[in-house]
């Protein structure tokens, strides 16, 4: 039998992989965004598991909205990325540190 906690631990592992991904792929902004998606996937799994085990649909509804938000977020994020490319000719994160200190 698969317990709720199994799902939770699974999602927490994916969550942490997402976190680790941010560390590993630090220079690549797209990769960071994809890692955030990974985090969101973990969160979603959490919600759905809770929803399922708690027999409460609101968790799934939440996931629905998270998906919507994520989509909108990605749209805006990639738009900004495009602007950045236009401005600097690169999306290399190593050059985006003119603001610091």
């Amino acid at each position: 039998m698969i317990a709720l906690s199994d799902y939770l631990i699974l999602s927490s592992i994916v969550f942490c992989i997402g976190l680790a991904g941010i560390f590993i792929n630090r220079t690549n902004i797209i990769m960071i965004l994809m890692c955030v998606e990974l985090i969101l996937a973990a969160v979603n799994t959490n919600f759905i598991a809770f929803s399922y085990y708690g027999s409460d649909l609101s968790g799934q509804i939440f996931v629905f909205f998270i998906l919507t938000v994520a989509a909108a977020e990605v749209a805006i994020g990639l738009a900004i990325l495009t602007l950045m490319y236009r401005n600097r000719g690169s999306i290399d994160i190593d050059v985006t540190n003119t603001l610091k200190g």
């Binding site: 699974l10 797209i30 399922y52 401005n87």
Partner: protein, 204 residues
């Protein structure tokens, strides 16, 4: 072991495995593909949790739209992979360390009891007539009508923002080409002018 359990483990393996491969992938485009696999496994897991609608939505929206957008941008911006992957390992130990600690913490907490099988147990199974979509829809258009409208606004913002930001009217930006700057030669910038010696005297 039940079949669903086996499926759970299989999908979990895929879920974790593909996400792991994604983060260590050296190529952004390949990583995106691994992410798609991750989403597929996630969707499969969700199916196990009787969230059919969301599983389908995940595939449709994420794989069908979001990841395509990602791929589009990846290819459009055509980033230099070698520089992006530089110093790949520099923060790897830190990342692994932090992640492991967080995993341990989370596992300790989540394993603590309230979410055990004994405590929570399995929910009552819905009959075949149960439609996840209907149930969600019922909720969405009644109880969650307000958030639903908000989601609409959110998407409107995304549209406006994306158009406002990326839509080209005229190019006003001055971008800096670093490689051009670095590779510049002295002769390109400097001109030796030969000045006659007597010219200075004449000017006096």
């Amino acid at each position: 072991m039940e079949f669903t359990s086996i499926l759970f483990y299989v999908f979990s393996l895929f879920f974790v495995g593909s996400s792991f491969v994604m983060i260590v992938s050296r190529n952004t485009a390949k990583a995106a593909l691994w992410l798609i696999l991750t989403f597929f496994s996630a969707a499969s897991l969700w199916l196990l949790l009787e969230a059919e609608f969301l599983a389908i939505t995940l595939i449709l929206i994420y794989v069908g739209a979001v990841m395509v957008l990602f791929m589009f941008v990846i290819k459009m911006l055509d980033t230099d992979q070698s520089t992006l992957r530089a110093q790949f390992t520099r923060y790897l130990p830190l990342g692994i360390f932090v992640s492991l600690i967080v995993i341990v913490q989370m596992t300790l907490v989540l394993n603590a009891g309230p979410f055990d099988l004994d405590t929570v147990g399995l929910p009552e199974q819905h009959g075949a007539s149960y439609s996840n979509i209907t149930a969600i829809a019922q909720q969405l258009y009644t109880v969650y009508v307000y958030p639903f409208e908000l989601a609409a606004i959110l998407l409107l913002i995304a549209i406006i923002a994306a158009i406002t930001l990326v839509h080209r009217t005229q190019v006003k930006s001055k971008k800096q080409n670093i490689s051009e700057q670095i590779n510049v030669q002295a002769k390109d910038r400097m001109r030796f002018a030969s000045i006659k010696k007597n010219s200075t005297k004449e000017s006096k």
